[in-house]
Each structure stands twice: as structure tokens, then as C-alpha cells.
């Protein structure tokens, strides 16, 4: 049983083929990292999983995608997304909501909390899991523009966690934040495995090495190699993976 299972998935945007017969399997409760140089199709791959690809005009997906127990390409995308949280490259907390409300809104619309007390607990739990609680517990009613970029990104992680997702998608979550915050985020990600399955996209082999249980290497729309992280980092079998690890592509 896998959280995400893709068989021969190809994605076209207009005439351009972005993904080429991708096949991969993500075991439950692991951190699965998709690694590859920019332009290799990582983000597109991630967006097939929760059907955000639908927002791209002219996009066409072929193949078979199973996400949790959904036949993802033929399910109601809104129903599917109820189980999938996502954190994006650029931190995007809702600017008009307070820190508390940003997290609470995710819990509320997914029916995670019924009473105010339960809601308070979920918000605290999510902020703790995202390693942000200590920094914001005294200013939950500030707006997110008062936070640093890294804090904003952890707020987005907390928001995604508050919906109690079964699958968490992270699209280069540390790309736009400083190294200290990036480390905190990585720490948080690793500690999440008990609760969710994480699929994360990164172009940094170092980051992949720090967090991944499984790695898939994506290059020019193809998965060129995949497997347990340790094995792949110690003995990469393809030239592309070797080059990527040496930082040559």
C-alpha cells in the first residue's frame, strides 16, 4: 500500500511534454523527496497529486495516479484536496487574517475542531508541530506581515497541518527563506512522519539528504532513479544522479 502511486504519468501543457511516463511509489508515513534541477518538472509532478495542475490552462495529464484511496485523475478534486495539505515555494499566509485565524481557518473548513476550546488546541498543536509556537504564542492576534519570511513559511506549514491532512505536499518550502529558518522547517518536517506522509520537492541534494527516507531523481521530466535515500546517496547508479549529488547540474 502506498500513499501515492503513479504509473506512466505524462503531463502536457499545450504541445510541450513536461512529465514523461513517470512511475513512482510513496510508502505511507515517510518523507519522500523529489529531487532535480530546476525545470525538470518537480513542481508539476507535485501538482498532479492534488490536481492543482487543473488551474494551469491547457494542461493534460495521462496515466494512472492513485492518491490515498482515490483514483486521483478521476475524482472530485475538491474532495481529494480535503486530505492533502500543501505548502508552496513563496510563503502565502492570508494577509487579512491573524496568525491564529490563519491556522484556525484550515481546521474549521475541514471540520477538525467543533468547539472554540478544540480549535484553540488544534491551533496550538499545529503551531508546535511547525516549531513556531514559542515565537508567536504571545502574539497570536498579530497579522502575518509582522513575521519574518521564515516564520511566515512555518505558519503556512502549521496551517496545512491544522487541516489534519493524510498527505502533505511541500514545494521547495525553504527556497525563499534564510538557512536558520530552513533548518527549523526541516526539523519540523522530519518530526511529522508519524502523522502524515510527506512528499517534498527540492533542488538541493543536501536538504534531501537531511530529511528524506525515499528519493526520486527527476531530470527532464523523467524519473531517472528512485529508492531508499541512504542507498541512493551512497551508491547512485545513474550518471545524472551522480552529477546532481556533486552539484554539477
Amino acid at each position: 500500500m502506498f500513499a501515492v502511486e503513479m504509473n506512466n504519468v505524462s503531463v502536457y501543457i499545450g504541445d510541450r511534454q513536461i512529465l514523461k511516463e513517470v512511475t513512482l511509489r510513496t510508502p505511507y508515513n515517510t518523507v519522500f523527496v523529489i529531487m532535480g534541477p530546476s525545470g525538470s518538472g518537480k513542481t508539476t509532478l507535485l501538482r498532479v497529486i492534488n490536481r492543482l495542475i487543473d488551474l494551469v490552462e491547457g494542461a493534460r495529464v495521462e496515466g494512472f495516479v492513485k492518491v490515498l484511496n482515490f483514483d486521483a485523475l478521476h475524482s472530485d478534486p475538491y474532495e481529494l484536496r480535503k486530505y492533502i495539505g500543501m505548502v508552496f515555494q513563496v510563503p502565502n499566509p492570508f494577509p487579512h487574517l491573524t496568525i491564529y485565524e490563519n491556522v484556525a481557518v484550515a481546521a474549521k473548513i475541514n471540520g477538525v475542531a467543533k468547539s472554540k476550546r478544540e480549535l484553540d488546541e488544534v491551533v496550538k498543536w499545529a503551531l508546535e508541530k511547525a516549531m513556531l509556537w514559542d515565537e508567536v504564542k504571545d502574539r497570536l492576534y498579530d497579522h502575518p506581515h509582522k513575521l519574518s519570511g521564515g516564520q511566515r513559511q512555518r505558519l503556512c506549514l502549521a496551517r496545512a497541518l491544522a487541516m489534519k491532512p493524510r498527505l502533505l505536499l511541500l514545494d521547495e518550502p525553504t527556497a525563499n527563506i534564510d538557512p536558520v529558518n530552513a533548518r527549523k522547517l526541516e526539523e519540523a518536517i522530519v518530526s511529522l512522519k508519524d502523522e502524515v506522509t510527506v512528499v517534498m520537492v527540492t533542488h538541493s541534494p543536501h536538504q534531501a539528504a537531511r530529511v528524506a527516507d525515499y528519493v526520486a531523481v527527476l531530470y527532464d521530466g523523467r524519473v531517472v532513479e528512485q529508492g531508499p535515500a541512504q542507498q541512493l546517496f551512497l551508491r547512485p547508479s545513474t550518471e545524472i544522479a551522480q552529477k546532481l549529488l556533486r552539484g554539477e547540474i
Binding site: 505548502v87 473548513i109 487541516m163
Partner: protein, 304 residues
């Protein structure tokens, strides 16, 4: 910083580009100067009663000023009820050709001469409202002062408000649509990233756009204040001040439109009319300023 040719070009644009600003300054100044006589002669008492009796040189502008504010408030409510659903339908549910057709129709309606609305409203809307809104409201809730009078002809503050409201729907819808569609896609993605359905996303995005929507309504209110043709054909043109919305009333614009032609015959009629314009213009300018700066500030905060 500028080349010589750039400078010349800029200097040639300058007089034309500031002429509109000049029109505003000159017209407001003129209105203020022309209203001085009335304000000095009658003082603030001018706005404390409702009389229009030029033969005896007795004037009171309370009814038209209150009428203008009331009709505009009803117009605002009407526009609110019609514009937000329309904007959401266009932005979220219509696609492709249908979307552009509907947006074009909205724009077309915004450019339509108000006389078209005025004739339609006086012939069809007023009797319709009388039968299906005013009479039912009066019989169901006669104890509420706003609905306490039986509509006689239907021409009333209420009818004028609804008619003017319908005429500003295209304008307000366009403003709301612009704000809504300028919300960066990353916030829409954020909604989907927490499992929001389409309805829940719309709710979140609307609340994100709330300041801009309020500003759009304020701008609509300012526009409703100045609406003349529709007001004069539907409001009933009576100086009678009533707490009931179904009684005929006046608005400042309607008063001016119907009285200005003969006002020169009397000593104070003209300057009194000018002072009534002054009140409306000052309110409209203040509201427009508030509305447009709010939208700009919102854009800077959310969009950029």
C-alpha cells in the same frame, strides 16, 4: 534625467493633463462662491426645514438633502445585493466566450445613458416595486416607521433608491470584479492547499477583498448621490419630509434639475440651489477620495 525632446513633449502634455483638475477646482470654487449669498442670508437654518417657496423667498433644503442620502443608501443596498453575486458569477463560474459576453454586457450597461434607466424605471420598475415590494412590506410591517405609509403612486424615495441602485450595479460590479480578480493566484492556491471547496475559497477570497469591496460600494454611493435623471423621474418630487420610504420625496439633484431653469426669476432661489449642490459635491468628493485611496492602499498591501 529627461532629454530635451522628452522635456518638450512633457511640457506640451502638461496643460492638457491638468485641465481636468482645473475644471474640478474651478467648478467647486464657483459653486462655493455662488452659494455664499444663501449661506450668509439664511445661515444653517437653510438645512433645518423643508420649504420651497420662491415667491415668498422662503427656502429649506432638509428634505432634498435627507432624500439624497436616503435614496443613495437604498441604492447602495441594492447594488450590494446585485453586484457581489454578479461579480462572483463572472469571476468564478463563467468561462470562455460566455464570460466575455457577460462582462461586455455589464460594461455596456455601465455606459448606457441614464435616461434609458430613467424611462424604464418610471414606466415599469415603479409600478412593479409598488405591487411586489412596497405594498407587501407595508401590509406586513406597518409598525416599522420606514414602511408605515401606504404607497399611493409608487413614485417615492424607495423607488428612486432601487432604480438608482440598479443603474450603478455595472459600475460597482466592475470595481469589485477588478479587485477580486487582482487577488494573486497564490492565495487561491493557499485555499486549495488547505482543502477548501470552491465555495469556501470564494468566502476566504471575498473576505480578503473586503476593504476593496467596501470602497467600491462607497464609490457607488458617491455616484448615486449625483444621479439626476433617474431621481427626477422616480422620486416623486415633493418637498414633504417623511420617515416613510414609500412617500414621494426629493433629492438635491432632482430639485436642481426641476427648479434651476426658473430660479433666476427670484432673488435667492439660484444661490440656494448652489448651496444644495455644494453639500452634495463635498460629500461626494470626500467619499470618492476615501474610496479610491482605500482601493489603492488595499492593492499595495495585498496585490504587490
Amino acid at each position: 534625467m529627461f532629454s530635451k525632446r522628452d522635456k518638450l513633449f512633457f511640457l506640451s502634455l502638461l496643460p492638457l493633463s491638468i485641465s481636468l483638475l482645473a475644471v474640478l477646482v474651478v467648478s467647486v470654487t464657483t459653486i462655493a462662491l455662488r452659494s455664499l449669498d444663501a449661506l450668509q442670508h439664511f445661515g444653517l437654518a437653510l438645512f433645518a426645514s423643508s420649504i420651497w417657496n420662491p415667491e415668498r423667498e422662503v427656502y429649506g433644503l432638509l428634505a432634498p438633502v435627507i432624500g439624497s442620502l436616503t435614496t443613495s443608501a437604498i441604492a447602495l443596498l441594492t447594488a450590494l445585493i446585485l453586484s457581489i453575486p454578479l461579480a462572483i458569477t463572472i469571476a468564478e463560474y463563467l468561462q470562455g466566450a460566455l464570460k466575455s459576453v457577460v462582462s461586455s454586457i455589464v460594461e455596456l450597461m455601465g455606459g448606457m445613458p441614464t435616461i434609458v434607466y430613467a424611462v424604464w424605471a418610471s414606466q415599469y420598475l415603479v409600478p412593479f416595486l409598488k405591487q411586489f415590494a412596497m405594498e407587501p412590506l407595508h401590509s406586513a410591517l406597518p409598525f416599522i416607521p420606514l414602511f408605515s405609509c401606504k404607497p399611493v403612486t409608487g413614485f417615492s424615495v424607495f423607488a428612486a433608491g432601487v432604480a438608482i441602485g440598479i443603474s450603478i450595479v455595472p459600475y460597482v460590479t466592475t470595481l469589485i470584479l477588478e479587485a477580486y480578480q487582482s487577488i494573486p493566484v497564490m492565495y487561491r492556491e493557499a485555499c486549495y492547499g488547505i482543502g477548501a471547496t470552491r465555495y469556501e475559497s470564494i468566502k476566504i477570497l471575498l473576505s480578503l477583498a473586503r476593504p476593496a469591496i467596501i470602497a467600491a460600494l462607497v464609490l457607488g454611493f458617491a455616484r448615486a448621490l449625483g444621479e439626476t435623471t433617474i431621481a427626477v423621474t422616480t422620486v416623486g418630487n415633493s418637498m414633504y419630509l417623511s420617515s416613510c420610504l414609500f412617500a414621494p420625496g426629493y433629492t438635491v439633484s432632482a430639485l436642481i434639475a426641476s427648479q434651476f431653469a426658473n430660479a433666476y426669476l427670484y432673488q435667492y432661489a439660484e444661490t440656494v440651489l448652489y448651496s444644495s449642490i455644494l453639500v452634495v459635491v463635498l460629500i461626494a468628493i470626500a467619499l470618492s477620495f476615501y474610496g479610491s485611496t482605500t482601493i489603492v492602499r488595499w492593492r499595495l498591501r495585498v496585490v504587490v
